[in-house]
């Protein structure tokens, strides 16, 4: 099977998964307890107003019809109107997506190089104190839930020991004009993803440094620095790239608690808000968005894995 066909096949599988996910998401919204119209109106609900809102939300249409029209709109990029706001969901989500992407990209940009360097350094000092410390440190960090790390940072830098960074985002302005609010959430996420990358980099480097061709290069008198940069590092990129991509996918879930903690106006906080407000169209759209992102990034990780694994690239006719 050619590489193109392999990727096409994975894409098709991804699309199929998203279709089933859409059934699941839609089905979940059908089962939502309570009456969405009542939740929207709250105390201002009177029978006639309820009827009006129900009709507007198509709550009385048959499920299949609702699914088809919802899925059709979804495919064409029309995510419907938020029942809470009456404004297009796309508008609501656009800014949040940008904000969340900003967090994720910054976290990845900071975590990746640091983790790669740390992993390499640790591998080069195998079984010495720095290696043990790194290993233990990453293990501890990998264990800690992200909100625990976030609250600890909050206490140290914002509300307790040092009061140098803002605890919450000023919602009156965009996040870009107040870059200081990004520091703690980005740091929290970076600390959450870097241990895995560090450990993978270390393991991969150890394997490569132990491999025959590195030994051969050393025997041939190639300087250690050159061995590292010419031979070891390039070969580590493949497997590590896959882990980096998987960590990026993890971030799609990691932002939920972190955004909630820092009151950061992103997708994660949006999901929690939508659950609270029973805003079904928004919840559906957000969950589909997260799922799509997750599937695509996992697909990318797959492809990267295939591209960088010579065995799979050439031989794999499955």
């Amino acid at each position: 099977m050619s590489l193109g066909r392999l990727v096409a096949r994975r894409l098709a599988v991804g699309a199929l998964i998203l279709f089933v996910v859409s059934l699941l998401v839609f089905g979940a919204s059908l089962l939502l307890p309570g009456d969405a119209a009542r939740a929207v109106l709250g105390r201002t609900a009177s029978p006639d107003r309820l009827a009006a809102v129900r009709a507007q939300m198509h709550l009385d249409d048959p499920p299949l019809q609702r699914y088809l029209s919802w899925a059709g709109d979804l495919v064409t990029g029309d995510l419907g109107d938020s029942v809470v706001s009456q404004t297009p969901v796309v508008e609501l989500i656009a800014q949040r997506s940008v904000n969340s992407l900003l967090l994720m990209v910054l976290a990845a940009l900071i975590a990746t190089p640091v983790a790669l360097a740390l992993g390499t350094w640790s591998a080069l000092r195998r079984d010495r104190l720095p290696d043990h410390l790194t290993s233990l440190g990453t293990l501890v960090l990998a264990s800690l839930p992200e909100f625990v790390v976030g609250i600890a940072l909050l206490f140290v830098f914002s509300t307790g020991l040092l009061r140098v960074l803002p605890a919450v985002v000023d919602q009156t302005q965009g996040v870009l004009v107040q870059p200081e609010v990004l520091v703690l959430p980005v740091l929290t996420l970076a600390l959450a993803v870097s241990p895995y990358i560090t450990r993978m980099m270390r393991a991969t480097m150890l394997e490569i440094l132990d491999s025959d061709f590195v030994h051969q290069a050393r025997l041939n008198g190639v300087p250690e620095r050159k061995v590292l940069w010419r031979h070891a590092v390039p070969n580590a990129i493949g497997p590590v790239a896959q882990v980096v991509a998987l960590q990026l996918a993890w971030l799609a879930g990691g932002i939920v608690l972190v955004e909630f903690l820092f009151d950061y106006p992103g997708i994660g906080e949006g999901v929690v808000d939508a659950v609270d407000a029973r805003d079904i169209p928004t919840l559906q759209a957000l969950v589909m968005l997260v799922a799509a992102f997750y599937v695509v990034v996992n697909l990318l990780a797959d492809v990267v894995g295939v591209l960088t694994n010579p065995r799979l690239r050439t031989g794999g006719a499955s």
Partner: protein
């Protein structure tokens, strides 16, 4: 941290446990975990106050007669902390047992059938794996209302496909071995093979998975509590809920948040150290790290 090897060599699960105890990490993890478990189990009996009684004005850090001040309703933070571990711990263990159990079952069926059943089960896990665990949990909890059992079911449902993936790989690996072939040739039923030959030979990865899932369970259960979605009675002391309900007073009265945060952090680190120790032992790469 996916463990690959099995432990056919010597003594199965018990032997593995014993050997992993030789690793400093496992021991350290065990000590830390035991400490937190001790607080959770013994705490309610030694707490100076009831978990729901009022001892002062809300959010006073130095209310007379309290060690760590009062919480959002004027209850004793220290006493609520001592009362609040049981729920997180109990729910996490249940999530782990249910999630790993379900995942293992799927893996044993799928990894040893090579029919459409395998395909169906694996595609189902693909769908469930299309969400980050927390988003799946939020979607479930939006539908089924947070109750302790729905939270357990939700978190377990998040674990199951991931466990199934890892364990299926382990089962597939074992299923190709000679002794399984010979058992088949003796005409043993498939379930006898599964339980008699496959299961005992995947205990290594199974134990590692269990340890890992316990760590993630604690994080997720406490995280849902932090979002206010743990489904417990509102006045029950619970480490996750404590963080949620005392968040607003963090500046004035940090202890009400810090105590449960520290306990959750220690618990996850402890269980993960144990899991790591077992993984190293079962992978045969055990090395002393701590003293």
């Amino acid at each position: 941290m996916s463990a690959a090897a099995d432990t056919t060599a010597s003594g199965g699960a018990q032997g593995l446990l014993r050997r992993s105890l030789a690793v400093g990490r496992t021991r350290a993890g065990l000590v830390i975990t035991s400490l937190v478990v001790l607080v959770a189990v013994v705490g309610p009996f030694v707490a100076p106050q009831s978990e729901t009684g009022f001892v002062g004005a809300p959010f006073s850090p130095d209310a007379p007669g309290t060690l760590f001040g009062t919480d959002t309703l004027g209850r004793d933070v220290w006493s609520r902390f001592l009362h609040g571990g049981g729920s997180v711990l109990g729910m996490s263990v249940l999530c782990t047992v249910a999630g790993v159990g379900a995942g293992l079952l799927v893996a044993l069926v799928a990894g040893y059938s090579r029919t459409w059943v395998d395909e169906l089960l694996m595609r189902t896990t693909d769908v469930l794996l299309a969400f980050p665990a927390i988003v799946l949990a939020l979607l479930f909890l939006a539908v089924f209302e947070p109750q302790p059992w729905t939270v357990v079911a939700t978190v377990a449902a998040g674990h199951a496909p991931r466990v199934a993936r890892v364990m299926r790989a382990a089962v597939l690996d074992v299923a190709g071995r000679d002794y399984v072939r010979s058992a088949e040739s003796m005409g043993l039923r498939r379930w006898s093979v599964r339980l008699g030959d496959l299961l005992p030979n995947v205990t290594g990865p199974l134990m590692v998975e269990t340890g890992l899932r316990l760590t993630y369970s604690v994080a997720l259960v406490a995280g849902l509590g932090f979002l206010g979605l743990s489904g417990l009675q509102a006045d029950q002391a619970d480490w996750g809920l404590m963080i949620n309900e005392n968040r607003l007073g963090f500046t004035v009265q940090p202890w009400a948040v810090l105590l449960p945060v520290i306990a959750i952090g220690l618990l996850t680190v402890g269980t993960n150290l144990i899991a790591d120790g077992i993984a190293r032992t079962s992978a045969g790469t055990d090395r002393e790290v701590l003293g």
